[in-house]
Symmetry: C2
Subunit: 326 residues, 2 copies
Amino acid sequence: MSVSEVGEWKLIEAIWDVIERDPEEVMGANDDVVARRIGGNKLLVSHVDTLAWSTDVLPGMTPHSIGFKSVIMNVSDMAAKGVRPLGMLFSLGVPRNCEVKCIEEIAKGWRDAAAKYRLHVWGGDITEAPELMLTGAIMGITGEGKIMRRRGASEGDLVACIGTFGLTSVAYLMLLQGRAAPSKIVELKAKRAAYYPKAHLKEGMLLARTGAVTASMDCSDGLAWSLHTLCSLNNVGMVIKCIPMPPEVEAYAKAHGLDPIDLALYGGEEYSLIFTLKRSSLKSMPKSLVRKMYIMGEVTSDKKLRLLLDEEEKEIEKRGWEHLRR
Amino acid sequence: MSVSEVGEWKLIEAIWDVIERDPEEVMGANDDVVARRIGGNKLLVSHVDTLAWSTDVLPGMTPHSIGFKSVIMNVSDMAAKGVRPLGMLFSLGVPRNCEVKCIEEIAKGWRDAAAKYRLHVWGGDITEAPELMLTGAIMGITGEGKIMRRRGASEGDLVACIGTFGLTSVAYLMLLQGRAAPSKIVELKAKRAAYYPKAHLKEGMLLARTGAVTASMDCSDGLAWSLHTLCSLNNVGMVIKCIPMPPEVEAYAKAHGLDPIDLALYGGEEYSLIFTLKRSSLKSMPKSLVRKMYIMGEVTSDKKLRLLLDEEEKEIEKRGWEHLRR
């Protein structure tokens, strides 16, 4: 049977059936990062993510934005765990006919994203490859009690987020399906979100410090997919009553007769953070953080993931951006 | 200008011209690993290496041996620094039509190599790719004074190695050029060296503990290339008087009218360790280590890399296995 028949998740399961787990690894399977005890109550936190030319590069992306994004996608996973990244290694797969200029621009993207999030690109390796592939390995150190996990949500917790949803869906529709933006500002905002995404690192680190968060993950696989993942890992359900969206998403949806909620739910590569927290801890959270948070709903015990808007209830489907893109 | 015109080393230089160095990174450019201060006199040591289907997989390699080797090539760099690896992440690039069975076998290769070197595969990510690509990121922690570097050799130091040379050259000639082995045992030994290479981790860690080593690196780019690298990074020369080779290399060379020394010098993917050490420290080294070491020659001040065998002297060329393979 081929990997495309079983899909990514079954393939990961098949690998885990073979691999022996590290008893000193504290996150367990399917979290955003791995974290390994290194003594003195410290954890070595690490993560790898690959940006591949044929599946991840949108029309109009410059080499600089490719380099930039390849850092952001890794930083975002650390942000969701509240861990400050120290640095990254890159393994660069390069086709023979690739221009040196292109690689220099990618490196400038690395440099600029690294400077923005105060980490360093330490080095890496270069391999010949049939298409451009950028694999980033990101690392950081944190205290054992300080890391936020995907597991820990329970009934009655609030569901919240930092960052908004829908702009990358707009970008996909614009760039991959040629459905034009109704105005220059919508076009620019959507492209910016897709080409130069933002990782919410400072906010993630602040969140971890509050001790209020019961579960947390990044939304790179799309909001619907990520909410489903949190529900399934925690054996709970959720009622979502609010999804923060920039006005440009509604404008675009209106222009094309689409439901903006669908754009927000079934997008992807939007590095917003979703998390759950104890209701009682809300009042003691730093104001600067509360200002940036949106309360989206709450955790339920019934294992269903529902959207409740204007007294109308519907189920949130388990699908992500890949389905939108193909 | 394309990357194939400038080559890997110029490309790396171009990237370093752009990237800002981390002042807390202690190894400097062009070492086997990066090592970043993390407080308490500790270093976070990391390295990435990619195994790509079209450039690194030899005829006859099974998925199990591909997985195994993708661990070894990373472990070997840690061995050369004397650092115990804790674990690895893998980014797996998989073509759509790849069999699930193949990925399971690769994972078994990871498992077996990890068990052999007492580390863990912690996780990673999977991406669709035009060909199989395995990027491993390996990590470990060590004390700041304990790591062996490529820089530090000076005139009068001995040049030594752990492991032998030439068997992978034999394997390349057999497998890529169809030049048959003169006996079953030569064939088996060469294939074993190429399919299931050995990393000298225990020896590297012991070496680091002696404090006697002035410079050290692994030989994955071939013996000649690696010796040249050590000379150039240390601004010295070397006279090499002995190159340890298994008898099968000499048997193969004889059968094909080749110079066995050429096979040993200009091979590659042979994970032997080469290092320099103070002559005076030899007598205080543990016997178990001395038994495994070969003294190859000594460091000179004249910046020339020469081979002196049977009173005949010749220059060692700066070329590695890639030239042999293509």
